[in-house]
Symmetry: C2
Subunit: 255 residues, 2 copies
């Protein structure tokens, strides 16, 4: 049985708590948060505390806190030589205090507090400073059903960056689609099956092969029609830049 203490009460902490608490091979023995009220919903299931000096001894301490809090929290932990990991995509593993055995468990997924997440669909990228810590972190991730991948710092950082492109930026394109359609009283809902299909297609086909549309075909007539419809200068700039990017990728236009 792997014993775990979770520090933090945000989305990642909450989802990890539920998954690790349900798993057979792991036991969450304590949850810590500076504001103990945020842990109130757990208090019947696990010991909770807001005092670092009350932290129990465990196999793994998971710091699921905001990026800026990781370094100082790791310094304040009143013990050393135990395995302490953070869950951030962009913070260095060396930001953790060197008195600990250090690692990262980076879950590559978007979490909503309300929606239950099946960890089968949450790849966990594992990084460790010393090799010996790796098997235990892998066992933890496997225990909740996650696919795992050992990564180095550079790989974790580009995965985090790529996640911004495929999640945050993609979501902003959905938002622009929403604004454009509503402006003419058309229904954004009509686009939802297309949005889902575009994401499903990529599960089997490379994004290169999946591309279609006026930019790829270099269909200037349609591109000009679209630029005329767009009233918002920022939307226009995004249209032009992504059209050029597609044409660059597919060689339909020299840059």
């Amino acid at each position: 049985m792997i014993s775990v203490v979770i520090l933090g009460a945000g989305n990642v902490a909450t989802h990890l708590f539920k998954a690790l608490n349900d798993a057979k091979k792991t036991s969450v023995i304590q949850c810590f948060n500076r504001k103990i009220d945020a842990l109130n919903s757990y208090k019947n299931n696990v010991d909770i505390t807001d005092d670092l000096n009350q932290l129990k001894e465990a196999d793994i301490y998971i710091l699921a806190v905001s990026d800026d809090a990781i370094a100082s929290l790791s310094q304040q932990l009143p013990f050393e030589n135990r395995l302490v990991v953070h869950t951030s995509g962009s913070v260095s593993v060396y930001d953790l205090d060197k008195k600990h055995k250090r690692g990262v468990l980076y879950p590559l997924q978007t979490f909503s507090k309300e929606v239950k997440m099946d960890f089968k669909n949450v790849p966990i990228c594992i990084e460790t400073v010393d090799k010996k810590s790796y098997p235990l972190l892998k066992e933890l991730a496997v225990s909740i059903g996650s696919p795992t991948k050992r990564v180095n710092s550079d790989q974790r950082k580009v995965l985090h960056l790529a996640a911004v492109f495929v999640n945050n930026f993609t979501n902003q394109l959905y938002r622009i689609g929403h604004e454009i359609t509503e402006s003419e009283g058309a229904e954004f809902d009509l686009l939802k099956p297309l949005i889902l299909e575009s994401a499903k297609k990529i599960q089997d086909v490379s994004p290169y092969m999946a591309q279609t549309g006026p930019a790829k075909r270099n269909d200037k007539k349609t591109i000009n029609k679209h630029l005329k419809i767009l009233k918002n200068d920022q939307h226009k700039a995004i249209y032009k830049l992504l059209t050029t990017s597609i044409q660059h990728t597919h060689g339909s236009k020299k840059l």
Copy 2:
């Protein structure tokens, strides 16, 4: 029984043929294409022709051809006063020759020739010049299980434009995610569950509510880290522009 002639042999024509051929209330009585070879796989199921003068009488003629071919093909049809529709998102319904009853059946979906499409997931936007043609087109769309929506020209055009944002441009962001990860030997496959989850989230939550990440939080530290990692100037420009767009939407930064 609604009788249909399909003109064209591309993705949309192929998928419409299969769906209409399977539907109980519709009968595809003929397929036309300039290059008859492209219709060879249908010839055991339906009459095929490459001669406009051999076209049979039908309730609806569907011109599922490239945007540029619609106007001239509609002129060349050797009959008048019959219902002729095209399937394009961006071509005017008035590009069809005025000797016909004119309409548009615009399927709002991305089709791949290999992948079977369930028309339950293909909203069909219907536009007609005269009101009387509408019920028949609606009946046709309903017969293959599609959700339908009556739209005007402006609405159809913004839906097509929005489709470029949520499908083609989104796919290019997936492509950039692919390039960035591969450049460090990280696996693009790790991003696939995130891509799917981002699209699923939008089925129930507005894109505005679904947004997360460094741009929305105005997390300058992470944004600067990401800009440092990006080597490609075009990727950098896309990162900056979409970050600004998110900040504009969420009021985290004044423009």
